[in-house]
């Protein structure tokens, strides 16, 4: 457990050593801010729904960029060899890196807290959905981080890791909006697979265990698969 903490701390710090972190955070804030406030004044309502609706799509591009380096870079530089021959297990490495990625997403969301604060001055803001939205965003961020980490474990090329992660995240985001492509029998299964609906449920302010279980399962499956990939490399 101690080891997970050390790895987490190192990986989290690493984000802020390089300029990439600030770059990604700026891009994220620019895009969300732009799209959100573009329509905000048209609707003339004190709600954050549009902001949260955008998140799954934006996350599926931004998060793979955050996680792409976690394993790819280590394997490319060779530092994975020094890391793995320290007294740590693959599992501790994976969990530490996953938590660091998720914590970075949380850090990335902190500046957006200014939106609800700003809006609450302009109208009567219902804080329930806002809380729900942020809880949902962390869940979604965690799930996508796990997926991104999995993509990163597959290749030593960061660009490929990014594209792979993006494809999987985009699939999870968009699949429940393309249900008409699938045969009737599996539609309910496919719609369960989509991250969008689960996120929207939570973002409405309804924190349902079914949705939480969905995100936890995505995290678990992705991390487990990462574990298998890394063990296979031995």
């Amino acid at each position: 457990m101690q080891q997970v903490l050390y790895i987490f701390r190192k990986e989290f710090k690493d984000y802020f050593i390089s300029p990439i972190a600030y770059f990604v955070i700026s891009i994220f804030l620019l895009i969300t801010g732009w799209f959100f406030f573009m329509s905000f004044f048209i609707y003339d309502q004190a709600v954050l729904r549009n902001f949260f609706q955008l998140l799954p799509l934006i996350f599926s591009f931004v998060i793979p960029a955050v996680t792409m380096r976690l394993f790819s870079e280590e394997m490319n530089v060779g530092s994975y060899e020094t890391l793995l021959t320290l007294p740590v297990t693959t599992r501790e490495i994976i969990i530490g890196k996953f938590l660091a990625g998720t914590a970075f997403i949380a850090a990335m969301l902190i500046p957006t807290l200014s939106y609800p604060v700003f809006i609450s001055f302009m109208g009567d803001l219902d804080w329930g959905p806002v809380f729900g939205g942020y809880i949902g965003a962390i869940c979604l961020g965690g799930a996508f981080c796990a997926v991104g980490l999995f993509a990163s474990s597959l290749t030593r090329n960061q660009i490929i890791a990014f594209i792979l992660g993006m494809i999987i995240c985009f699939f999870l985001t968009a699949v429940d909006k393309m249900l008409f492509f699938f045969p009737r029998e599996i539609v309910s299964l496919i719609s369960y697979l989509g991250a969008g609906t689960h996120f929207e449920n939570i973002a409405k302010g309804i924190v349902d265990t079914r949705d939480l279980i969905y995100f936890l399962s995505v995290v678990f499956v992705a991390l487990f698969a990462t574990g298998l990939v890394m063990e296979e490399k031995k």
Binding site: Q2, Q3, Y6, I7, K10, K13, D14, I17, S18, V77, G78, S79, E81, T82, L84, T85, L86, P87, V88, T89, K234
Partner: protein
Amino acid sequence: MIHIEKLTKYYDDLCAVDHIDLTVNRGEILGLLGPNGAGKTSTLRMLTGYFLPTSGTIRVKDFSIHQHPKQIKSIMGYLPESAPLYHGMLVYDYLSYVADIRGLGKAKKEERLRKLVTLCGLGHIMHRTIHELSKGLKQRVGLAHAMMSDPEILVLDEPTSGLDPNQIVEIRDIIREIGKEKTVILSTHILPEAEATCDRVVIINKGRIVADGPTETLKHSMDAGGHLFLSLKNAPQGEAIRLLSEIDGVRSVQTVEGANSENLTALKMGCRGGMDLRETIYNAIKQTDWALMEFRQETKSLESIFQELTKEN
């Protein structure tokens, strides 16, 4: 200390390590020699738990690599080839991170860091990022990384490759210093290095052990049929060859190309296995009025042993 049995590693179809048996004793400095692609690095990687063997067992003290990888890793320090460290980190941050993961604790960490900084000469680079460092300095940081927890076993993969001669001497001194109390395994394809640092040498080729023994014994055991060199002044060449060939035990006498001048004859003599003919030869020459300018026995260097053992067929 370390027992390796029937260790085998396949990468898909390629057999990198082929049924290696090896025992390393406490306090030994063992040199693992072999040409490129002989399986040195693969063996070390399995020993340090980076790879799992395809088959075979590795036991370190009472731990097995399959059941207790973490315990083995905690008593072993490893420096991979060309020291792949986190290049974005400061040297201090990196070493302190390694100390944390190795579970040193705060007080001990400070003390250990101080000691390693002096031993490896890192004082002036602690605040620099690793990617700024030259290869030699990086190697020293890697060495400090490997020695962080004062491990009982130190495994170094080509610790001196790519360093300049001064740095090589420095690193060798450090290794010998550590080797006084610790078990050290180092791989190299630089032979003088193994000769200079190691107590024992294991030569591997194509994944198999082809020679194993103390450095001295290995050199002597291969001495059978060694050569003598001598050069004589005022000796007619033909006459000298005739005289020396008549000595019992001499297998061949040849002139050394390029070393003969007007009144100097340089000869290379092959002797039958195990015979020391130096005295007989000296006595034979004493009878003549030739002057003995040079007389030496060539012990085979590790280099020629190595070439003999690892050349194709």
